[in-house]
Symmetry: C2
Subunit: 335 residues, 2 copies
Amino acid sequence: MVVRLKDIARDLGVSTVTVSKVLRGRTDIGQKTRERVLKRMDELNYQPNMLARALAGGRSYAVGLVVPDLVHPFFGEFARSLAGALRSEGLVLVLASSEEDPDIEEQEIQTLLTRGVDVLLVASCRPSTHPPKALTETTTPVVLIDRHFPKLPMDFVGTNDLMVGEVAGRHLAGIGRRRIAHIGGRGISPTADRLKGFQRALAAVGIELPKEYVVTRERFEESGDATGYHAMQELLSLREPPDAVFCYNDLSAIGAMDAAMQAGLRIPHDIAFIGCGNLRYADYLRVPLTSVDQSSHRLGDMAAKRVLELSTGAGGAPQTLRLEPRLIVRKSTVV
Amino acid sequence: MVVRLKDIARDLGVSTVTVSKVLRGRTDIGQKTRERVLKRMDELNYQPNMLARALAGGRSYAVGLVVPDLVHPFFGEFARSLAGALRSEGLVLVLASSEEDPDIEEQEIQTLLTRGVDVLLVASCRPSTHPPKALTETTTPVVLIDRHFPKLPMDFVGTNDLMVGEVAGRHLAGIGRRRIAHIGGRGISPTADRLKGFQRALAAVGIELPKEYVVTRERFEESGDATGYHAMQELLSLREPPDAVFCYNDLSAIGAMDAAMQAGLRIPHDIAFIGCGNLRYADYLRVPLTSVDQSSHRLGDMAAKRVLELSTGAGGAPQTLRLEPRLIVRKSTVV
DNA sequence: CTGAAAGCGCTAACAC
DNA sequence: GTGTTAGCGCTTTCAG
């Protein structure tokens, strides 16, 4: 069957403890013994049973990540850079997706917890006022990603969402638009911040954001295009439709643009669009989409740094890390 | 701290075995005892330690999946439906991505194996002649996804790639094209089949596929658009460029179309394109992309069925399951 | 430097 | 129906 520490110890006439120590690179083993052990491990292609190690040692060297949607480019890229950074430190990333379903999310969190991850990262799909129960009860360190829960004193890594809104608002105003609308989210924390920053930027140049110009919806990740499409139809039915729209994310912007084009509007002449997330295909769309980039890659690196601290117990007080977004201008706003 | 079986047993004055049996729903426990145990578990919100369970029981109730790229829609959707189907059977899916790097792939496979998954699913990025070493040595049941290794007698779930090529070839010939080219992959198993089916379909209507009309490349998932772009430039530089191209996947088709448009060609008038995978954004592209759909969702369900059999030990001989692809026609081939 | 003893939290097999 | 014993493969502690 499979090789165990015990087998190596028996072969070499040493104790399992000695082998275990060599395995973990401890220095209190003699040079010669160490070499013999290493040699035998290599010969037998020994692979430690991580279940046993985790159970005995209280550390699994695994980190969990729960996201609302894996196919979503933002989370996919975040996960990628996070996994890479952790891998080089000897930690594995265990991925799970909630499919934007609070029940599945709760379940996935429990699963990762009972499987002993050392740190748990969560981009929750729950309203910012109702954190997942399991999160509040566990003693495992948790890092909230992208969406936070104001009432929970937990680590957070995400985008400066106020600035996302500001960047979008400033850009749309800057290209001369005045009837500016927003298709936004609801519930999760970034939505409120983005709207606030957006309003602030518009107010700064004397533009107001009337209530009917703010359309909010709930699910934005998986079928965001349909969400955006319908929200846009609502805006188009107004007596005075907008001449620019800031959408919560790129997928909803794509759907919204589709609705506008079907209504015979020209982009950006009649109406401009800006999204958020800067997705992989933004360049190849019918109308290349201006977007606010969240540097998901750098976010992943930052999260990894924090995870490393937490996984060694040297966490300290909860920290909040926010990255500044960048505007990527394409033809949906500027010819 | 955290609640253990032992705590419940102590509280109730029964043995841990009794509690364990109730936990696992075994029927050889008296009604009254069972209820007391259940009640106490609920009160204490007991969550079994899955590490310990897996170590002691030899089953982890976890299934591993290694894909070349998570952001890739095909694998993302496959993973989603697989996870859903497994979840409803009490199994968890543990996801890992190799980023199309054979070394990372090998490492991720090892990781999942040493962490005790009951079944391992792998969509390998390695050439079909050189399977990952760890795969050939393990005793854990393995299911190959999308790409198989002819020499390895293992379970396989994937698309009928011969038919992918045929569908594409027949369609392009059917819309009257004659100078038909292929931008294809290399190494992994689907590439050869797709090319073969493609050739066969063309031959059936008297069209030959000259060597210079077949451009092959290696990495197609992550930066497939750039790959397609450059491959297309090669085709455009021929004395007689093609009037239709079948691309290995949608991402490469997007890049290829970009190159064609930059060269001043009109799609589909001057040149038609067909991809494979039917990605989420295909409808919203500058030119909506005709694509061969692989029904990733159904593939996930099929894989889940097979995994369930394998995870209970009732595997039997390796099986090969192939799903038939469907053609989705859009404006990149037909106005 | 090395190893014996104890135990992580759970389950398998068999007694009672 | 219920409990006892033994052990999964590893790490920890501490004695030598």
